[in-house]
């Protein structure tokens, strides 16, 4: 008997017992749908985090003023202002460092025409856009010479630009910041939330000198809120951290045995933790979903065993009219596999539908890859073969005379 004929026989047998076939398939459907849904949620979370990390910039260190503790008291980092623009310039000279961007910040009121917008202002240098991996939507960043001359130029975050200008092109227009006119030189591309969930696009950027002298003012001239440091390479991040620490201790004249008056944080390490957490999450989700697939598989084996017992006489008749062991084995194996593959396909569709629903309802990023679909298909056929083989083997190894005599 050729394979297509056996396939026909198997299909006929499944059709004869629609309800049972359907219920058995349901186990498979739920299993595969759960796996696809969980994998897509996990993959979505990983993709989201990877995007955020890529947007953040690579090999980043954050240096903030203030020690974690001083003389028995704990201070929040950043609570004192010990870092200066000169520190940032000195750090930029280190061999393990690519560039640095000092940052001051505050809150300001912006006006354009009749519109008002209150937002964060960041005073920094042109390096900031490079280190922070910012791309320009239109226009350019401000220049080194504009920093030196404390020019009244501003780069707008995408949300700020949208809020003030609507569909109008902001570059070349003048906005008023705390009632002083500023020329808009650039608008940034949207970046979305940071790892900590802060919206990064509602922000304006001005030269650090301009910010200090004309907008926020500064109690301690030259001091900064924090600096972003980009290491020369991923391998040298630890070295960069050590070099920065040594240099700053030396510049700040901190004697041995006393605590640092600054803190260096490795943002890449934080990103790695987030990536690992997402990875673990998707593995755990996948594992939990796999259990339901396993249960579905056992259900198939159970039903196939019952089916073999119930159809012992049929098997006997088939053997009497010429079915060999291989034909019987193949038929029962095909029945199990057809339940699994059909269940797998339906489960896949339901899983994809469920993923879409979750993305709509929970506003989550859901990613379905071709590999995932292949995996679900492969897994369901594997379950069919694995759990279908024993019952099929049992059917094929029946002795014709015993099978025929079975009541």
């Amino acid at each position: 008997m050729n394979l297509s004929a056996i396939f026909g026989e198997a299909l006929r047998a499944l059709r004869q017992n629609r309800l049972r076939t359907g219920l058995t398939m349901l186990g498979m459907i739920i299993g595969v749908a759960a796996v696809v849904l969980m994998l897509s949620i996990g993959q979505g979370a990983r993709t989201k985090i990877n995007e955020t990390i890529a947007a953040m910039g690579s090999n980043l260190l954050l240096v903030v003023p203030g020690a974690t503790s001083s003389g028995g008291f704990s201070f929040g980092s950043g609570s004192v202002r010990t870092l200066t623009i000169n520190d940032a310039n000195a750090i930029a000279e280190l061999s393990s460092i690519r560039s640095t961007a000092p940052v001051t910040s505050g809150t300001v009121q912006l006006n354009y025409a009749a519109k008002n917008w209150s937002t964060l202002i960041t005073g920094t240098t042109p390096e900031y856009f490079d280190v922070g991996n910012w791309a320009m939507e239109s226009g350019t960043a401000f220049t080194e010479s504009e920093v030196r001359s404390a020019a009244r130029v501003v780069v707008l975050g995408s949300i700020t630009a949208k809020s003030l200008f609507g569909d109008e092109e902001p570059v070349g227009k003048t906005v008023r910041i705390t009632n002083r006119p500023f020329l808009v030189v650039g608008v940034l591309m949207a970046k979305g939330q940071s790892l900590t969930g802060r919206d990064q696009d509602d922000n304006v950027f001005v030269p650090i000198s301009t910010s200090e002298r004309q907008i926020t003012g500064n109690q301690f001239p030259g001091s900064i809120r924090y600096m972003l440091v980009q290491g020369a390479s991923a391998e040298e991040m630890d070295l960069a951290e050590i070099e920065i620490t040594q240099l700053l201790r030396q510049r700040h004249r901190i004697p041995n045995g006393k605590d640092n008056d600054f803190t260096v944080r490795n943002l890449t390490a934080i990103a790695d933790v987030a990536t690992d957490a997402a990875k673990v999450m998707s593995i755990v989700l996948g594992a939990i979903a796999s259990v339901s697939l396993l249960v579905g598989g056992i259900g198939i084996m159970n039903i196939m065993l019952v089916s073999v017992t119930e159809r012992t006489r049929e098997i006997g008749i088939r053997m009497a009219i010429g079915a060999n062991q291989r034909a019987i084995l193949t038929q029962f194996l095909l029945e199990a596999m057809m339940i699994c593959i059909m269940g797998g396909l339906i489960g896949l569709l339901i899983g994809i539908g469920g993923a879409w629903l979750v993305s709509q309802v929970a506003d989550m990023l859901i990613v379905i890859t071709l590999g995932m679909i292949g995996l679900a298909f492969l897994f369901s056929s594997a379950v069919g073969i694995f759990f279908g083989f024993y019952p099929a083997q049992k059917a094929a190894s029946l002795k014709p005379v015993d099978a025929l005599r079975y009541e």
Binding site: M1, N2, S4, A5, G8, E9, R12, Q16, R313, E314, G316, I317, R318, M319, A320, I321, G322, A323, N324, Q325, R326, A327, K399, P400, V401, L404
Partner: protein, 252 residues
């Protein structure tokens, strides 16, 4: 008899030599109990014969039938079918013999449920590797011969006993076997239908030269056969030509 045991005539379809069959069962105490069913059967059936194997229940006639049909294997002794030693064949080869050389007709019809008469008849062809459409075409031809063309798309439970048995006979014949084994083929049928079925067998034997081995315990059914073999407690007690019935039929 000794000459039969050593020569394997090409005309002899079936040749049994010192064939024994015993079953081993475990009783409730785990002790093995061996029951011997057939004792040293020597039997030769030639191509074209119509043989009735008779005996009471427990005489071993069904066991003998199962062995003849390659559904069961002898414990000792040998069985030559068309010159082939059945004991030496693999389960695949036995399946092939059942498919090509032997047609079965059972007491309980043994049709596949929820399958049309047509597909039931076509199934042996499928197992012989013939395509579904070709098999169906041929099956319809065979149903036409047995007058069941109109019932081709009926399922067994929609057919009468006699019709079911005709379907079963069509199925047995479809691969042009040299041997038909019929195990109490009329056991579930009324006497009129039984006679119809037996006349069909007789016709097949007479017109197509198909060898028919019939198991029955009814004398009037056995009367259709040309040779009678009586089994009692696993021994052949009578093996004779059915002269009276032959004579009876000659009067027609």
């Amino acid at each position: 008899m000794s000459s039969i045991q050593t020569t394997h005539s090409t005309q002899s379809l079936i040749q049994l030599e010192q064939l024994c069959k015993s079953y081993s069962l475990q009783d409730v105490h785990g002790q093995t109990i061996t029951t011997q069913v057939l004792y040293h059967i020597n039997l030769t059936i030639h191509q074209g014969e119509f043989v009735a194997i008779m005996g009471h229940s427990g005489s071993g006639k069904s066991t003998l039938m199962n062995i003849l049909g390659c559904l069961d294997t002898p414990t000792s002794g040998s069985y030559w079918l068309s010159g082939k030693n059945v004991a030496a064949l693999s389960s695949n080869e036995l399946a092939q013999i059942r498919n090509r050389n032997i047609g079965f007709v059972f007491q309980g019809f043994n049709l596949l449920k929820r399958m049309t008469a047509l597909d039931n008849v076509a199934t042996p062809l499928l197992y012989a590797g013939i395509s579904r459409s070709k098999s169906r075409k041929q099956a319809l031809e065979f149903l036409r011969h047995t007058g069941l063309e109109d019932f081709a798309m009926h399922q067994p439970n929609q057919l009468s006993g006699g019709q079911q048995q005709r379907v079963a006979i069509s199925r047995a014949l479809i691969n042009h076997p040299s041997l038909i084994l019929a195990d109490e083929p009329t056991g579930n049928l009324d006497s009129q239908t039984s006679n119809d079925i037996m006349q069909l067998f007789e016709k097949l034997n007479r017109d197509q030269g198909i060898t028919i081995v019939l198991v029955t315990h009814e004398d009037d059914i056995a009367a259709y056969a040309k040779r009678l073999i009586h089994l009692k407690d696993g021994h052949v007690t009578i093996d004779k030509n059915n002269t009276e019935v032959t004579a009876l039929h000659e009067t027609f």
